[in-house]
């Protein structure tokens, strides 16, 4: 008898739901098992290290591991881009162990995006070193390290594990106290580099520039061993981040088991009003069924509160079915480190039936073997989806990965275009180390660490660019010019004031006025739109009324209410094109890209009734304007395209372009591996000021701009693939089951009811990318 396949095991569990409201399985896909491909241990590897590995069951390493080792030995920077659970950490741990055994003065630095990962790797590495008979000191140096231990770690540790934030604010500014560590630094390990994209990536790229600069000062030139989850552009991303030529290792030699991947759509509860069933309860129900069938299950939720909701549901079901509810546990940020370690250990030892987690458990923490992974909502990127899917099925038995889609356009689009998830290459990770605001801030930090002499360079900048940037800082009196060089003179711990996570904008914390509970953190710009006084704020299916917004203190206080109305901010946005950098005609529009200045002021709000969208009146808002210098791409539809879509009146034009920009920003988020909020939209239908540059837009246009000061490369990358994005937008609109537009496609209605609005947005998108002529469907 042949052994059971993944679909034999899991399909009955998926459909055997004893419920009237059966969800739809919109896609199903089996990833076949693959055998291991191995190589012998290389001869140069320290015998004790290979013996230690063999003693732990690794009789022969995988091909990608050996390839990484060889490249590192040859002094090349390496990027390992193989899937989750393919033994990536051994790619750097084994050479580090071998190096430390051979050279007692050698030092290694490990950088992980989270504290939890550093702690996890500390244990793994220490076990390997002990097994290999190497008495090197290994320690985590982060915000949780007691100050009494820090001096010992600085002076005696061979391996320091940390995170980019600590490297930036704690280690580099104090590099003289790490003098012997930096002098001996041979390997810098930077794992999970796909996390370092966008604003965070630009910061980290500059931190790595500073790391190299400080290492060079102490006489060392470390080789970089990096690793990433699946992204479309590993080579490019590593080169942008490290600014060196990087050897990329993508072909995994690790075996995989068979995995069934499904997408589940909970469907509408009220298709007319466009109200969908909750993905959370669907995910909880599925998890309970799986647990009941004896399958260990990991549920991923997008927020901390969602974790608690799902956990409560699963535990109740377990209790009803006679299982011990304590065998289901939550795992999220906000749990104390000790508790997290305990849950990790329980998972690893197979003592849990179910775990409900946020992305905190997504990165490389070793959680052992699980039968099924359920995602309540699309995690935002394909890379993250694969990372989570890889958590299932480490054993030699089939596994399940189920994505329960939510109500967002992205989720709904994927439910109908599963190839984007299963077949397409993952997203590109974008990083722009030379984002001007970020670069300048890190130059100040770099000058704090070591003064700049005339003719010095910083990272990949030329001598002239470095000089220009430094002299700009001198003019702003952030640096002092001294005899052709630049010195930091001031009473401030500059690095501590710069957060790597997020741009300059403050985060506004949202508190429930009644319970005092912290509900969310919102960046300052979004806060003006979503959290102005009297706004209706929705998060995780809960509705709140905003009582106060204090931008100074960065606090908003809200009160839970019964959802009957919603608000739409009325803002006065001005967008000025400062310079056109590229411009081209596509079939039904012209597409441009350049620098813009956006001046946005929320002036009031409109209150509407949920369901009927009846306008209940407006109110004023008095908040200061935000000025953002950033990059944007714009689309100026041709007259023919506008005519084809029937956008003849001003109202229709505004509605049509707004609807399209809403869809586009969501499709763009899918392609560019960013949050839809990272790209903001603006529609211009009035007159333009006269300009000399003929490449400036002249007529009605829609803009998508990077919502971060200076731009992070999103709109630039988007304009290159705009035809595909337009086509996908049209597909998304066509595929949505709603009647006249909903938050899952062209966004909530802002004006009068217009039954043609949805169709005209679709037509406009197709006309712009040339698939529809002026006469109708081609």
């Amino acid at each position: 008898m042949r052994s059971l396949s993944a679909s034999d095991i899991f399909f009955p569990l998926l459909i055997n739901e004893n419920t009237a409201r059966r969800p739809t399985i919109t896609a199903m896909h089996t990833v076949e098992a693959r055998a291991a491909s191995i190589d012998p241990f290389p001869k140069w590897m320290d015998a004790a290290v290979s013996a230690a590995l063999q003693a732990r069951g690794i009789t022969a390493p995988y091909t990608h591991q050996v390839a990484a080792w060889q490249a590192l030995l040859a002094g090349q920077d390496v990027l390992v881009a193989t899937p989750t659970a393919s033994g990536k950490s051994l790619c750097y741990n084994a050479p580090v162990a071998s190096l430390l055994r051979g050279d007692p003065s050698a030092r290694a630095l490990y950088v992980f995006p989270t504290k939890a990962l550093a702690r996890d790797q500390e244990t793994t590495l220490r076990e390997l070193l002990v097994a290999a008979g190497c008495n090197a000191n290994v320690a985590v140096y982060d915000g949780d390290t007691p100050s009494s231990e820090r001096q010992r770690i600085r002076q005696t540790c061979h391996v320091i594990l940390t995170n980019p934030d600590m490297l930036h604010a704690g280690i580099l500014p104090n590099h003289p106290s790490f003098a012997s560590f930096f002098a001996g630094l041979k390997i810098a390990v930077v794992d999970e580099i796909h996390i370092y994209r966008g604003v965070f990536g630009a910061h980290v790229a500059n931190v790595l520039r500073r790391l190299r600069r400080v290492a060079r000062f102490h006489g060392s030139h470390p080789v970089f061993a990096t690793a990433t989850a699946t992204i479309a552009n590993p080579q490019e991303h590593a080169q942008h981040l490290l600014e060196s030529s990087v050897t990329v290792i993508e072909r995994s030699g690790a075996p995989t088991c068979q995995r069934l991947e499904v997408i589940i759509d909970p469907g509408f509860s009220d298709p007319v009003r466009g109200i969908r069933r909750s993905a959370l309860s669907e995910a909880a129900r599925l998890a309970s069924t799986l647990v009941q069938a004896g399958r260990t299950t990991l549920v991923f939720c997008e927020t901390r509160r969602a974790v608690e909701v799902v956990l409560r549901h699963v535990r109740r079901r377990m209790e009803q079915n006679g299982l011990d509810p304590s065998e289901a546990r939550g795992y999220r940020g906000g749990y104390l480190p000790g508790l997290r370690r305990e849950i990790e250990a329980q998972l690893k030892e197979g003592r849990l039936r179910c775990a409900v987690a946020t992305s905190a458990l997504e990165l490389g923490i070793d959680v052992g073997q699980l039968d099924a992974v359920v995602m309540a909502g699309y995690p935002g990127t394909v890379a993250s989806f694969r990372q989570r899917a890889g958590r299932a099925g480490r054993r030699d038995r089939p596994s399940l990965c189920a994505l329960v889609v939510g109500a967002s356009p992205l989720d709904q689009y994927l439910a109908r275009h599963e190839e984007q998830l299963f077949d397409a290459s993952a997203e590109r990770a974008l990083v722009r180390p030379n984002n001007i605001e970020i670069l300048l801030r890190h130059l100040v930090c770099a000058a704090f660490e070591l003064p700049f002499a005339g003719g010095d360079t910083f990272g990949g900048l030329t001598v002239e660019e470095t000089e220009d940037a430094l002299s700009c800082l001198a003019e702003e009196e952030r640096l002092q010019r001294v005899c052709g060089g630049y010195v930091f003179v001031g009473n401030a711990a500059v690095a501590r004031d710069i957060s790597l996570r997020g741009s300059s904008a403050k985060r506004v914390v949202v508190y429930d006025i009644e319970t005092g509970e912290q509900l969310a953190e919102v960046d300052e710009v979004s806060a003006r739109r979503e959290l102005h006084p009297h706004a209706i704020y929705q998060i995780e299916g809960q509705t709140y009324f905003v009582e106060t917004l204090d931008l100074e203190a960065a606090v908003a206080r809200v009160r839970a209410v019964v959802p009957t109305t919603y608000t739409v901010p009325l803002s006065d946005t001005r967008l000025e094109v400062m310079a056109t950098r590229s411009h081209r005609g596509i079939l039904g529009a012209s597409a441009g890209f350049g620098d813009v200045r956006v001046d946005e002021r929320v002036t009031g709000f409109k209150r509407l009734r949920i369901g009927s969208h009846e306008n209940l009146g407006t109110g004023p808002v008095d908040l200061p304007a935000v000025v953002l210098d950033t990059e944007a791409m714009w689309l100026e539809p041709s007259g023919r395209a506008l005519a084809a879509a029937g956008l003849c009146s001003d109202t229709k034009l505004l509605d049509g372009l707004s609807g399209l920009s809403y869809v586009l920003s969501h499709i763009a988020a899918l392609r560019l591996m960013c949050d839809p909020k990272d790209l903001a939209a603006h529609v211009h239908t009035g007159l333009w000021p006269l300009g000399e540059d003929e490449r400036l837009p002249r007529g009605p246009a829609l803009f998508l701009y990077d919502a971060h000061c200076g731009g992070v490369g999103l709109s630039e990358s988007l304009v290159e693939q705009i035809e595909d994005v337009l086509f996908e937008a049209a597909e998304l609109v066509a595929g949505c089951g709603c009647a006249e537009g909903c938050p899952a496609c062209i966004g909530p209605l802002s004006g009068e009811l217009d039954v043609e609005r949805k169709a005209s947005v679709r037509t406009l998108a197709l006309a712009m990318c040339g698939l529809i002529g002026a006469e109708g469907v081609a």
Binding site: P176, E464, D468
Partner: protein, 445 residues
């Protein structure tokens, strides 16, 4: 768009200009102007000083010269470039407040105890280097500059020589450090105020950044903050140098620049804005060095001469210092004086410490006497009751008394441990009574 265009946009220029050649460095011209103006001022000062040499004493009693916005001193050339130097010599009789500077030399035997460093035993105080930095900030990171290094030492005749090394721009730091390392190489010990956690790590950072050897790393070090805190913390909440100067030395600074304003003063100086403030910073640094010398002498005097101590609480602090240094004699004399004062709580504390010292010597009789004295002075002295309970139980086998004191020590010992002790003592007492009764019976029989 190139980086340069973006930078220009940032500067508020709406229309990017065609790339131009970089503007010539104004820094060099800035610097020559600065140097020229400095030279002129130095010349002025030189003539003024020749005309009316000021006695050093007056320098410190009067406010800094109102018209003197220039930086006093002279340029010194070193193999690593020039640095600005200001020197002052103060006679051993010069008093800072009521403390003469000569005191440091007179009471040098106390140094070893004050520093808790045996390497200072029999040390020549003339080889002590006094060190105090003025910096661009309190952060100890790589970017905090020590733009003013104040040093001081005692000449053979007991005079205090103060030498300030001032960096007119950050590039002169190398030369300043070179001069400092010369002083350090000659020195046998370092004297600072809060140097352990601030000045010395910062100096080390500066040596590392300038890729120079730090000759001061292995020198024995006396951090007066640690010693002063140990001595005065019972009496003074604030043990900053300024406060000690006022409360212990009786010296009041007038027109002194507040420490918090010093980093900005240097920034302003570099930007050519306010030189007067910098002159005040140098004055401030001189006073810090002088205060350091005077405070060292005063602490030494108080330590070695218990009769000179005015506040009974200070005796406790000094005794604590002596006990930690293993100097039983000094500890004894301070404790005896403290016991003799009218302040009963202080005296009780002194009696308690003396008793503990006696107990450590296994002089149980003396210890018993002193513990009883402590209780006499302070009936609620829990530690004394506890110690007495133990002494009576184990050394004297007097369970009744032991029980009495055990009950009085409840707050000190903690409820649970105390209950155990009381229970045990009651059992022993009961047993004793039985055997006593038996004895009585026998004798009756």
């Amino acid at each position: 768009m190139s980086l340069r265009n973006k930078l220009e946009r940032r500067r508020g220029e709406d229309h990017p200009k065609a790339p131009t050649t970089p503007t010539p460095e104004p820094a060099s011209s800035d610097k020559s102007v600065l140097l020229e103006s400095l030279r002129q001022r130095i010349a002025q000062i030189a003539t003024r000083q020749q005309a009316s040499p000021k006695p050093a004493k007056e320098l410190f009693d009067s406010q800094p010269d109102q018209g003197g916005s220039a930086i006093p001193g002279e340029e010194m050339s070193t193999p690593l470039g020039p640095v600005w130097i200001r020197r002052l010599v103060l006679s051993p009789e010069h008093c800072h407040g009521h403390a003469p500077l000569g005191g440091f030399h007179d009471f040098r035997e106390a140094l070893c105890a004050l520093a808790r460093d045996e390497r200072l035993e029999g040390f020549d105080s003339r080889r002590t280097l006094l060190l105090d930095l003025e910096t661009t900030g309190l952060d100890r990171g790589a970017g905090t500059l020590a733009f003013l290094i104040g040093t001081g030492w005692f000449e053979d005749d007991g005079a205090l020589c103060v030498e300030l090394l001032f960096c007119r721009d950050p590039l002169e730091e190398k030369a300043a450090l070179w001069r400092l390392s010369e002083h350090m190489a000659r020195a046998g010990a370092l004297l600072t105020f809060n140097g352990r956690s601030f000045d010395l790590p910062l100096v080390n950072t500066r040596f590392v950044i300038n890729q120079m050897k730090n000759p001061g790393w292995s020198l024995p070090h006396l951090d007066l903050l640690l010693a002063a805190r140990r001595v005065f913390k019972r009496r003074l909440k604030d043990c900053s140098l300024g406060h000690l100067e006022r409360m212990v030395l009786g010296f009041e600074r007038h027109g002194d620049i507040p420490s918090a304003a010093i980093p900005q003063a240097y920034v302003d100086f570099l930007r050519g804005r306010d030189k007067g403030a910098m002159a005040k910073v140098l004055e401030h640094n001189v006073l810090d060095i002088v205060a350091l010398a005077a405070l060292g002498g005063e602490l030494g005097k108080l330590y070695l001469d218990p009769a000179s101590v005015e506040h009974a609480l200070d005796h406790l602090g000094l005794a604590c210092l002596a006990l930690r240094a293993g100097d039983a004699q000094a500890a004894g004399s301070h404790l005896n004086r403290a016991m003799g004062t009218g302040e009963e709580l202080t005296a009780a504390q002194a009696a308690l410490w003396s008793a503990k010292a006696a107990a450590r010597r296994h002089d149980h009789e003396k210890a018993l006497e002193l513990y009883l004295r402590a209780i006499e002075l302070d009936a609620f002295c829990g530690p004394a009751h506890l110690a007495l309970s133990k002494l009576y139980e184990h050394a004297q086998k007097d369970y009744a008394r032991a029980l009495f004191h055990a009950k009085a020590a409840a707050d000190t010992e903690g409820e649970q441990a105390c209950a155990l002790r009381i229970g045990r003592l009651e059992r022993k007492l009961a047993k004793d009574r039985v055997s006593l009764a038996l004895c009585d019976e026998r004798s009756d029989a």
